[in-house]
């Protein structure tokens, strides 16, 4: 439904295209320069890519929460990053207790599973509370109203955690889990001059597994069918006997569970937990969701991995300061929304009006 703007020359369109062209040229130029320069070997890019895939898996899992909720309610759950933070934070107390009692060392697999379960539960509880208190009364309000509410909720959750648990940084304990002689959680291995951390593979695989599970749930089960029906048309679905409230609650719960799991995985290699840790991954995951086409489940997965890879490799590839990592994510978001507002996979952004 793109409409042409005006018959004669459209200045704004020109300006936008010009900006796009300049950025494209810059990227190509820096890319060629870096690759020709040959400062970095293949191993640099390989290790960046491995990290990027793990990070991308995290983004993808969080992005699914945005996309699921957007698909059904057409609202951006701005506080989703705080759901991710909340689960990770609560689970920290569990894993720290396991660490003190020695359970983490004696039985790491069980301890981690319990930690992940805690995080998922905590995230789900937070999300359901949020939906019940803040979002449900506003379901038929103009679109900006729930967005502002979500910003408020995000702020509230961050500072509630700060108030309850203090300002200090919590650090996830070191964990080790040996499978076939390899420490798949805490190990670092030097393979041909390249440092490899198996945890990145573990995170990547876990993320993919969770996504597959979600995919099956949405495509194959009755509940998934109800979700898709509500996404298509709330009122008709309600007429067909689907309990819309229940589906909305389930959607929030699913998204939150994925975010909670992602949080523990993130903390296993990133270690640090603070009350503000949800903000940046939240925004980036939103970017990933938009990249893939918001409302589109495979799109969120693809977008997440793409963003993870882009973020880890672009600074080197383009010869930029690694401080500018976040600019890449935000820049991608802006560029995608300008040039392909429907995302990579191009899900229909159903506008209710027009």
């Amino acid at each position: 439904m793109r409409r042409r703007l005006s018959g004669p020359v459209d200045v704004t369109q020109l300006v936008v295209s010009g900006i796009g062209l300049v950025i494209l040229l810059f990227v190509v130029y820096r890319l060629v320069a870096t690759l020709m320069g040959g400062t970095y070997g293949v191993s640099t890019y390989a290790s960046q890519a491995i990290f990027g895939l793990a990070q991308g898996g995290i983004y993808a899992l969080i992005a699914l929460g945005y996309t699921l909720v957007y698909g059904i309610l057409f609202m951006i759950n701005f506080a989703h990053g705080e759901i991710f933070m909340g689960g990770t934070y609560i689970a920290y107390f569990v894993i720290a207790a396991f660490d003190r009692s020695g359970f983490l060392e004696s039985n790491p697999l069980l301890a981690i599973v319990a930690t992940v379960a805690t995080a998922m539960t905590a995230s789900v509880i937070l999300a359901l509370g949020l939906e019940r208190i803040a979002y449900r009364p506003l379901r038929r309000a103009p679109r900006l109203v729930p967005l502002i509410t979500a910003i408020g909720a995000s702020l509230f959750l961050q500072y509630a955690f700060r108030g309850l648990f203090g300002t200090g940084v919590k650090v996830y304990p070191d964990t080790h889990l040996h499978v076939a002689g390899i420490d798949i959680l805490g190990g670092r291995y030097d393979i041909g001059g390249m440092v490899v951390r198996p945890i990145y593979f573990v995170v990547f695989l876990m993320a993919v597994t969770l996504m597959l599970a979600l995919w099956i749930l949405v495509q194959k089960t009755k509940m998934g069918k109800a979700m898709r029906a509500v996404a298509e048309d709330k009122d008709t679905a309600a007429l067909m006997g689907i309990d819309v409230d229940r589906v909305v609650v389930l959607t929030f719960a699913l998204g939150a569970a994925l975010a909670g799991a992602a949080g523990v995985m993130f903390a296993l290699y990133n270690k640090q937990v603070t009350h503000t840790m949800g903000f940046i991954p939240g925004i980036k995951a939103f970017t990933a969701a938009v990249l893939g086409g918001i409302g589109n489940v495979p799109g969120a997965m693809l977008g997440g991995f793409f963003l993870g890879l882009a973020e880890s490799t672009f600074p080197t590839l383009l010869g930029l300061d690694s401080q500018l990592k976040d600019v890449i994510a935000f820049g991608l978001l802006v560029l995608v929304l300008i040039f392909r507002p429907t995302g990579i996979l191009g899900e229909v952004l159903s506008r209710k009006r027009a």
Binding site: L147, I148, T149, G152, L155, G163
Partner: protein, 524 residues
């Protein structure tokens, strides 16, 4: 009815437990309201019990007074029982590993310093009494109870603002006086208002001139009344009013939710820094009076430029993209890439204050007048423009973009105009800020500033000029004055945003049109 009491008591009790665990009682214990009698933290508990009691009373008037009082008492008791249990738990188990505020001091505060067992009992008894009082208060005529709430609020605010709290006699006198005025107003207020209106209509220009002159004198005299600290708080409020009114144009008039608004404040501040500071990379050392308009123009230009790519985006996308812009600008300013020009994390220092002849503005009192001029200009422009062809075009875009366009409004032109004008206000504020604090650092310009501004616009009343000013006083001025409150500022903002959107989306002081909407609903 019992169920309602229990639920209400548990709800308020739960909220109080949460408030206790984020550390409010300990912080508020340092705020005596009535000297030697009651602190803010004790009042917090008392207010909770009163609310639980009044909320437990059924809405209908069918129940007897006794039943209502009983319902209130039960709710109050339940509410305080939860807190007593919390005190018991905290004193028995050391939870500080997890909950940082579960300290012995908290137990002390909750049990009123009387030891766990006695204190808990006292707490529950007090809760029962206050809850009963709250329940009973619902049977009073609205005029009386509302005036009482107002009187109580006045005593609390004044007591907190006074360093050592009020003396008992002062508190009683103030409470009674406010109560009497409020009660009188609600009884005879409308008659007075019509009298006033009649006077006003008869010689309207005279009255409005007198009001304006009086207002101007008060505004001009404020710094000498408030002293240095008070004036510097006022300066901060003024800066936020400037920015709030700018954002109000973008969000309130044109309906474009901009979360990266701080970017233009940053640009205004940095342009001023670069142009005026002899220590900046540019070494221009120009006068503030040259830099000021340039900062404004630069911010407006940036507003229009950043507006171009987002022209076709709607609502929530626009919000996130502008948020992205705000962050990009902050990261770029902070980065080593532009360090040679913008100074990276070290920012720009030695920014001189504005000078007139040989006089250089240094003290908050001086800046007060500068900010006052800025605010007056911005208020004037906002008012004029809201009531013009441009303002109508913006509001039409806010109401329905497609229809506005089909009615002949050029969306490109008016959206960019809104972005540019909103940004220019922020640029004015940024320039004053830079010369006021004599330096600019990238970390002064975080997303939280944008959210602060958005909060005050929304809480005050979106699209409403007096609303924005009120919002700035509430959300910026009050936390600045209530130092013990500072730690709870952001969490309150968050809760306020949610609560306002659910309960009162039009804000504390709604814009004209929205108030009209409400009035009509009442009239119907």
């Amino acid at each position: 009815m019992l169920k309602r009491s229990l639920r209400r008591g548990a709800l308020v009790g739960g909220v109080l437990v949460f408030i206790a665990l984020i550390g409010a009682p300990a912080a508020f214990a340092r705020e005596p309201v009535v000297r030697g009698v009651v602190t803010l933290s004790q009042l917090l508990l008392a207010i909770g019990a009163l609310l639980a009691g009044s909320g437990a009373a059924p809405a209908t008037r069918t129940r007897s007074t006794g039943a209502v009082v009983a319902a209130g008492a039960i709710a109050g008791a339940v509410c305080m029982l939860l807190l007593a249990l919390l005190a018991l738990l905290v004193s028995a188990v050391d939870l500080r590993q997890v909950l940082v505020n579960a300290t012995p001091q908290l137990v002390d505060e909750l049990t009123l310093g009387r030891g766990v067992v006695t204190g808990s009992t006292v707490l529950v008894v007090l809760g029962t009494v206050l809850g009963a009082l709250g329940g009973w208060s619902t049977r009073l005529p609205a005029a009386i109870s509302r005036s009482a709430v107002l009187a109580g609020a006045a005593v609390v605010v004044v007591g907190v603002l006074r360093d050592k709290g009020l003396a008992i006699a002062e508190a009683v006198a103030l409470g009674v006086a406010v109560w009497a005025v409020a009660y009188g107003r609600s009884r005879w207020g409308s008659a007075l208002a019509t009298r006033y209106q009649r006077v006003q209509r008869r010689n309207s220009t005279m009255v409005s001139i007198v009001v304006w002159i009086a207002g101007l004198f008060i505004l001009l005299g404020l710094p000498s009344i408030l002293g240095t600290y008070g004036t510097s708080v006022l300066d901060l409020v003024g800066l936020y009013v400037l920015m709030g009114l700018g954002l109000n144009i973008v969000v309130g008039y044109a309906g474009l939710l901009d979360l990266g608004y701080v970017a233009f404040f940053t640009i205004g501040a940095y342009v001023t820094g670069l142009l005026t500071s002899p220590a900046a990379s540019t070494q221009l050392g120009l006068s503030f009076w040259i830099a000021w308009p340039l900062a404004m123009v630069a911010a407006a230009g940036a507003g229009a430029l950043l507006g171009i790519p987002v022209l076709r985006m709607r609502g929530d996308y626009l919000a996130i993209v502008t948020l992205g812009f705000g962050e990009i600008i902050r990261i770029l300013v902070l980065s080593d890439t532009f360090k040679s020009v913008l100074g990276g994390a070290q920012g720009i220092i030695e920014i001189p204050g504005p000078s007139i002849g040989s006089f250089t503005m240094m003290r908050p009192q001086h800046f007060y007048y500068l900010i006052l001029i800025g605010v007056m200009i911005v208020v004037f422009v906002s008012r004029r423009i809201s009531d013009s062809r441009v303002g109508r075009a913006w509001m039409a875009i806010r109401e329905d973009e497609d229809v506005a366009e089909a009615t002949g409004v050029n969306l490109v032109k008016y959206k960019l105009l809104a972005f540019a004008m909103g940004a220019s206000f922020s640029g004015i504020g940024g320039a004053i800020f830079a010369s006021w604090v004599h330096s600019v650092f990238p970390n002064s310009f975080t997303l939280l500033v944008s959210i602060n501004i958005l909060s005050l616009v929304i809480v005050g009343g979106i699209g409403s000029i007096p609303g924005v000013i009120l919002g700035a006083f509430f959300l910026v001025g009050l936390p600045e004055v209530l130092r013990s409150f500072a730690d709870f500022r952001m969490i309150t903002f968050g809760a306020l945003l949610v609560a306002m959107m659910i309960a009162r989306p039009e804000g504390l002081w709604p814009a004209k049109s929205r108030r009209r909407e409400l009035h009509l609903e009442v009239a119907e």
